[in-house]
Each structure stands twice: as structure tokens, then as C-alpha cells.
């Protein structure tokens, strides 16, 4: 009984001693990814050494349930002080009052915009920044050097025209039974971003209005982009979606050496480095021979301060956020996790730009657009269904674009009403 009592009291005693020493404890949430969690633990140690009066507690959750976990903690009034979020979820969390605007004194808007890469401006709402990233991601073309060489393609494609020619040489088999794909097409992978943010722009259009409230891809450029992309499947027969069953079909198939080329994000570098047992390389996303317009889809995870942080905790959270977005941390993050620094200066570093793997991703930073999502799941569905209506049901690209535009505009209207 006595033992039980001591046991019950010990946390109390523990918290009392802490209260006496008065260090502030703040909680940090991110999703569970081994290298990120380990690196964060090391960074927290470093931060705590610099700030002996602050303790940071890291809590992690599985990736698939992460957004749910954060969302359900909001009405409960619990959760972290500093939180890691996908930038596309920001409007919902800012709207709900869950995130605090970053204090202007500590994070001046001008300074942010001069030191970070341009895509992070999607974290600015109502003229204020609500969160900042440590690292950013862009898309590029991964190619299997061995497969391309066997097919007689000696230089990786830089233009869409060469891309189609190369993929046609690599592909083996015919729909629906392929044995090797030229292009690992996967609308619900990264491809729908390529259609929206890359192809629409390369055909001379722009996918959204500047404030992000209107879709503007229901245009000639939009139809051309949809036609071009779906032709890769229907006309040129370069590959098929869901070649391998599973969650990362195209990437798994690429790592198994069954796919000539895939479009994937810099976040996939680590996985592919570990998984691909052949010679592979990376080149920037192709352009069209005629105009050479470059574009890319950029995305990033941000760290923000929640409404839970008040008083001492808020001051500690601001310090921690400054630390997380500092150039030192960005450098550590690049080395340990392999993600591109969000700072203009660091990502302009010549050794990074020349890196055969990171180079093509860094190259895309100045012209990478990040979409201002208001309902990422809903907007994604609108696009994936539109693409599938062409490649699986033989619908016309024009109708598909119109349908996507109607569906997505409805979602935007619902948010901005």
C-alpha cells in the first residue's frame, strides 16, 4: 500500500521539483519517420543545451493518421505547442484559429521573403506568416540508367518529346499486360501535380488565380495539358497506373527495376537510394522543345505555433521555431534526413546545385509553385477522378478538365464563402 502511494505521488513530486526549477516544457508533434524523429531528438538536445530553461517533448504519430490526430486535438483543446503540418493543411488550421500568426518582431515578413525560397509564400495568410519550413521539396524525373542504356537511350531526356521517344524504346509488352514500363504513370502519385502546376503552365496557362480563390485551368492550356498527359497512356502506351499493387506502386516498380522513368519528389530520394539496386539518375522535369517553359510543383512541411502556447510557453515556442528554421538546423536536416534547405542561400550552394541527385531538385526551386490547397483531400480527388475518367473510361480531356474545374471550384467556394 505504501509502495503504491509513493508510486502515485512520485509524478506529483517530480512535477513539483520541476516547477521549483521552473523550466518551461513545450510539446512538439510530427509524424513518425525514423530519420526525422532521430534527427529531431538530436536537434532538441542541442536546443536544450543552448536554452537550459526550456524542455522540448517530442511526440510522434503514424503518417496516415497524423492529420486526423492533429485535427481531433483541436476541439479537445489539447495537443502540442509547436506542430509540424503539411503546408496544404494550413488554411484550415489558420481559419480555425488553431495556429497563431508568427510574431512580426521575431519573424519580420520582409526578412522571411528575402531569405526563404519563393514557394513558402503559400504560408502567408492575411499578410502574415503562420508557419515556416525547415526544408522544401520539388519534383524531378528519376530514370533507370541501365534500362535506358539497354534500350539504346544514352542521354536522359530533357524535353517531353525526347521523354516520349525514350519511354517508347524502354517499354515492353502492351496494355494491359506490360512487363517493363517506359514511364511509371500514376495519376494519384505525383502526376496530378504535374498536370496542374507544370503542364498547364507549359502550355501557356495558369492553373489558379493569384489569390488561389478561382480555378483558371478550364482553358485551352488546361485541355492541352490533360490531353498531353493522358496521351502518354492512351496514345503512346508508355505505361499503366497501378503496375505494382500497393501504396507506392510506381516507386516500388521503379525500385524493382521494372520502370524506365518516374516523376517523384525529393522526399523519395532516401527510399530510392536504399531500394534501387541498379544505376539510376535524376534530371529536371522535361520542357517542351517549342517554348522551353520550366515549371515545378513545390511542397513543404511547416512548423507553426498553436494557440496552446501562451506566456512562457509562447516565448519558448518562438525560440524553438527560430531554432528549427535556422540555417544551422537546415544544414543538419539536409545531411541527416536528406531534404532540401528552405533557405535561398543554402539551396544556392554550388556543391548542392552540382550534386547529381539533389541538383535537379534544387534547380527547380526558383520556379516551383506550391498550390494553395484549402481541402487537400477533396481537391486531390477532383483531379484524380478527372484524369481517370479519360484513361479508364475514354472520356474527352475537355470534359474531364471541365468536371475537375467545377468540382474544385465548388470546394474553393465552400471555403472562401
Amino acid at each position: 500500500m505504501k509502495k503504491l502511494l509513493t508510486l502515485a505521488l512520485s509524478p506529483l513530486a517530480l512535477s513539483l521539483t520541476f516547477a521549483a526549477a521552473a523550466p518551461v516544457t513545450i510539446t512538439y508533434w510530427q509524424y513518425d519517420y525514423a530519420s526525422k524523429v532521430d534527427t529531431m531528438n538530436k536537434l532538441i538536445q542541442k536546443f536544450e543545451a543552448q536554452n537550459p530553461d526550456i524542455k522540448v517533448k517530442q511526440e510522434t504519430f503514424p503518417y496516415d493518421a497524423y492529420n486526423q490526430k492533429v485535427a481531433t486535438s483541436v476541439p479537445a483543446g489539447q495537443g502540442p505547442d509547436v506542430v509540424n503540418l503539411f503546408y496544404g493543411w494550413l488554411p484550415q488550421y489558420v481559419d480555425s484559429g488553431y495556429l497563431q500568426a508568427l510574431p512580426r518582431a521575431d519573424f519580420p515578413v520582409k526578412q522571411i521573403e528575402s531569405s526563404f525560397v519563393p514557394m513558402i509564400q503559400t504560408s502567408k495568410m492575411n499578410g502574415q506568416y503562420y508557419a515556416l519550413p525547415t526544408s522544401v521539396r520539388t519534383l524531378a524525373l528519376f530514370y533507370n540508367k541501365d534500362l535506358l542504356k539497354q534500350a539504346g537511350v544514352l542521354t536522359p531526356p530533357r524535353t517531353w518529346e525526347d521523354f516520349i521517344a525514350a519511354a517508347q524504346k524502354v517499354v515492353k509488352g502492351a496494355p494491359p499486360r506490360f512487363s517493363v514500363l517506359g514511364f511509371g504513370i500514376q495519376p494519384d502519385g505525383q502526376d496530378y501535380h504535374v498536370v496542374r502546376e507544370v503542364l498547364v503552365r507549359q502550355f501557356g496557362g495558369s492553373p489558379y488565380s493569384k489569390d488561389g480563390k478561382q480555378v483558371t485551368y478550364d482553358s485551352d492550356a488546361g485541355v492541352k495539358a490533360m490531353t498531353f498527359y493522358t496521351d502518354l497512356y492512351s496514345k503512346y502506351k508508355l505505361g499503366t497506373p497501378n503496375f505494382f499493387p500497393g501504396n507506392n506502386s510506381y516507386r516500388d516498380a521503379f525500385m524493382a527495376g521494372k520502370v524506365g522513368m518516374i516523376i517523384d519528389g525529393s522526399f523519395a530520394i532516401g527510399t530510392i537510394q536504399k531500394g534501387a539496386k541498379f544505376n539510376w539518375g535524376v534530371v529536371p522535369l522535361p520542357v517542351f522543345k517549342g517554348n522551353g517553359v520550366r515549371s515545378n510543383f513545390g511542397s513543404y512541411w511547416v512548423n507553426g505555433i498553436t494557440k496552446n502556447a501562451k506566456g512562457d510557453k509562447l516565448a519558448a515556442s518562438v525560440k524553438f521555431l527560430k531554432f528549427l528554421t535556422s540555417e544551422d538546423t537546415q544544414r543538419t536536416w539536409l545531411q541527416a534526413v536528406g531534404e532540401i534547405p528552405a533557405s535561398k542561400k543554402l539551396s544556392n550552394d554550388p556543391s548542392l546545385r552540382r550534386d547529381p541527385v539533389y541538383g535537379p531538385f534544387v534547380y527547380a526551386l526558383p520556379f516551383a509553385h506550391s498550390t494553395l490547397f484549402v481541402d487537400e483531400a477533396g481537391q486531390r480527388k477532383a483531379w484524380v477522378d478527372a484524369i481517370n475518367s479519360v484513361i479508364l473510361q475514354g472520356g474527352s480531356p475537355a470534359n474531364a478538365v471541365k468536371k475537375a474545374a467545377t468540382d474544385e471550384q465548388k470546394i474553393l467556394n465552400g471555403y472562401y464563402k
Partner: protein
């Protein structure tokens, strides 16, 4: 100690009281985790309840009005009906056939029964993965067999026309084991003497089945239809795992009402609207179950 003569009925009353006391605990549990949330959902469905918003305005029947025009909900409803109409009769027919055969064999009886029961205890997620590979248009053995038979390879889960049937196949295969066990128990409960009497009267095997086996299995069949229907109306896990990156796809062709509710509530945080769908699903299940109980339950004189 003097034994007091018990008044008639006292013992029984005390037993009843004890029973009620014991029932109270689970009742409380059900009240808190089942009934109250159900009624809260009813209330929630009248609000524009976004989990992330601070204001949750009352909108009356607006959510239900939106539902009427929601194509995706219509599709989910249609799909769910299709799953039920395909799945329930199929698993009952196959279950009965298998149970009749398993009831006859003597050698390796346990092994056979275990084999047919295995899919039921296989984790759904694992079974869904195996199913994806089996029916992979590219590498799947099913397509390989089709090609041996000179039938063109099929797209199965990647085709908006075939995905639902392929998904229903997985569910039937998984439920079959349980269905067989139900029928085996039902068959074992039929007294042998009926068959012997029928044999003496010169009844054929077919007559014995239609006149004895099937009528006496009626309670088992009713139970199977009701529980089977409910499980198909709530279909979720298989659908999610068969197309993880486009759940309910391609093009919403495998979407079920339960999955749609989940996506609205936990993917898009529209709790009010999701609650409205839940209420509709609840009403449908209740109505169907009542109808089934009314029309399927028959008494046969034994």
C-alpha cells in the same frame, strides 16, 4: 439457524433482480458508448459542424438537402446496394453447398473445415494485399490462367466496371468460412430420424433437401441474411485496402457509404454532413432489417 420457508416466487424474484443488476452494467456501457453518441450524431447532422472551426452554425435540414443532390453519395448508396445484392446470396449459396459437402466427408474432416475457415480469421488487410496481387492485371495469376484459356486479360480492380465485383469476391471469400460454420451447426441440429423416416417413405435425395433440410435451416438462413446484409451495408476495410491511394476508386466505383462517411468526417472534417449520411445509413439498415425479419421468419412445424 432456522430455515424460513420460502414463499413461492421469492427465489424467482430475487433471481430476476440479480439478473437485472448484472444487466445494468453492460446497459450503462452501451448507453455511454453506443446510444448517446448515436443520438448525438442525430443532433450533429443539423449543424454545419466542421471539427476545425470555432463556430458550428445550426443549419436545420440543410445537410440532408445537400445529400439529395450529392452524386457521390448516390453512387456510394448504389454501390453498397450492389455489394449486398451480390454478396449476401452468393455467400449463403456457396456456404450451404460447402457445408453440405463438408457434412458428408469423414476422412480429414477437421483439416477441411480448418481450410475453409482460415480466410475468416486472416487479417482483412493482409487478405486485401494478396487479392491485389492475385488480380493484378500485369502479374496476377488469375490473368495468367485466363490467357491459358484464351480469354483476354482483364483489368479487375483497376477498371471502374470490374472493381466492385472483384472487391465483393474478396468479401465473399472471407465471409464464407463463418457462413459454413453456421450451416454446419444448423445441419447438425436436424435430427437424423427425419431423414431415416423420409428414406423409408421412399423420398429422393432432392426431396429430402427441399422438404427437410432447407425448411429446418430457415432460422440459420434468416440469421445469415440479416447479419450478412448488415455487414455488407457497413463494408469498409476491404474497400480501403484494395485501392489505398484512391480509396473507393477508381472513379468512386467501389465507394461504400461507410467509407464515404469516413472520408467526409476524418479526411475533410465535415462532421455535420458526415453525421447526416450516418443517420441515413442507420435508417436504411433499420428498415431493411425489420423487413427481413418480418418476411423471412417462418415457422415450420417439426
Amino acid at each position: 439457524m432456522r430455515v424460513r420457508p420460502a414463499r413461492p416466487g421469492t427465489l424467482r424474484r430475487r433471481q430476476t433482480r440479480t439478473a437485472y443488476t448484472f444487466l445494468l452494467v453492460p446497459l450503462l456501457f452501451f448507453l455511454v458508448v453506443r446510444f448517446i453518441p448515436t443520438f448525438l450524431a442525430l443532433r450533429l447532422s443539423l449543424f454545419d459542424w466542421n471539427i476545425l472551426k470555432e463556430q458550428q452554425p445550426f443549419v436545420g435540414l440543410e445537410n440532408y438537402r445537400t445529400l439529395l443532390e450529392d452524386e457521390k453519395f448516390g453512387q456510394a448508396l448504389k454501390n453498397t446496394a450492389l455489394y449486398t445484392v451480390i454478396g449476401v446470396p452468393l455467400q449463403i449459396a456457396l456456404g450451404l453447398i460447402l457445408a453440405l459437402m463438408l457434412g458428408r466427408i469423414r476422412a480429414l474432416r477437421g483439416l477441411y473445415r480448418a481450410l475453409y475457415f482460415a480466410p475468416y480469421v486472416t487479417p482483412i488487410v493482409a487478405a486485401a494485399w494478396v487479392w491485389q496481387w492475385l488480380f493484378s492485371p500485369q502479374f496476377g495469376p488469375v490473368n495468367t490462367v485466363l490467357m491459358w484459356l484464351h480469354i483476354p486479360p482483364q483489368a479487375f480492380l483497376t477498371s471502374p466496371h470490374q472493381a466492385l465485383a472483384t472487391t465483393a469476391g474478396l468479401v465473399v471469400w472471407q465471409n464464407l468460412g463463418f457462413q459454413v460454420v453456421l450451416f454446419l451447426a444448423g445441419l447438425a441440429a436436424i435430427p437424423r430420424s427425419y431423414y431415416e423416416a423420409a428414406e423409408i417413405d421412399g423420398a429422393s435425395g432432392g426431396q429430402a433437401f427441399w422438404r427437410i433440410t432447407l425448411p429446418l435451416l430457415n432460422p440459420t438462413i434468416v440469421f445469415s441474411v440479416v447479419t450478412g446484409t448488415i455487414s455488407y451495408l457497413q463494408l469498409f476495410t476491404q474497400v480501403v485496402n484494395l485501392n489505398f491511394t484512391d480509396q473507393g476508386g477508381p472513379l468512386g466505383s467501389t465507394m461504400t457509404v461507410a467509407l464515404y462517411i469516413y472520408q467526409l468526417a476524418f479526411g475533410r472534417y465535415q462532421m455535420g454532413y458526415a453525421s447526416a449520411v450516418t443517420v441515413i445509413l442507420f435508417v436504411i439498415i433499420l428498415a431493411i432489417t425489420l423487413l427481413q425479419l418480418k418476411f423471412l421468419t417462418r415457422r415450420y412445424d417439426t
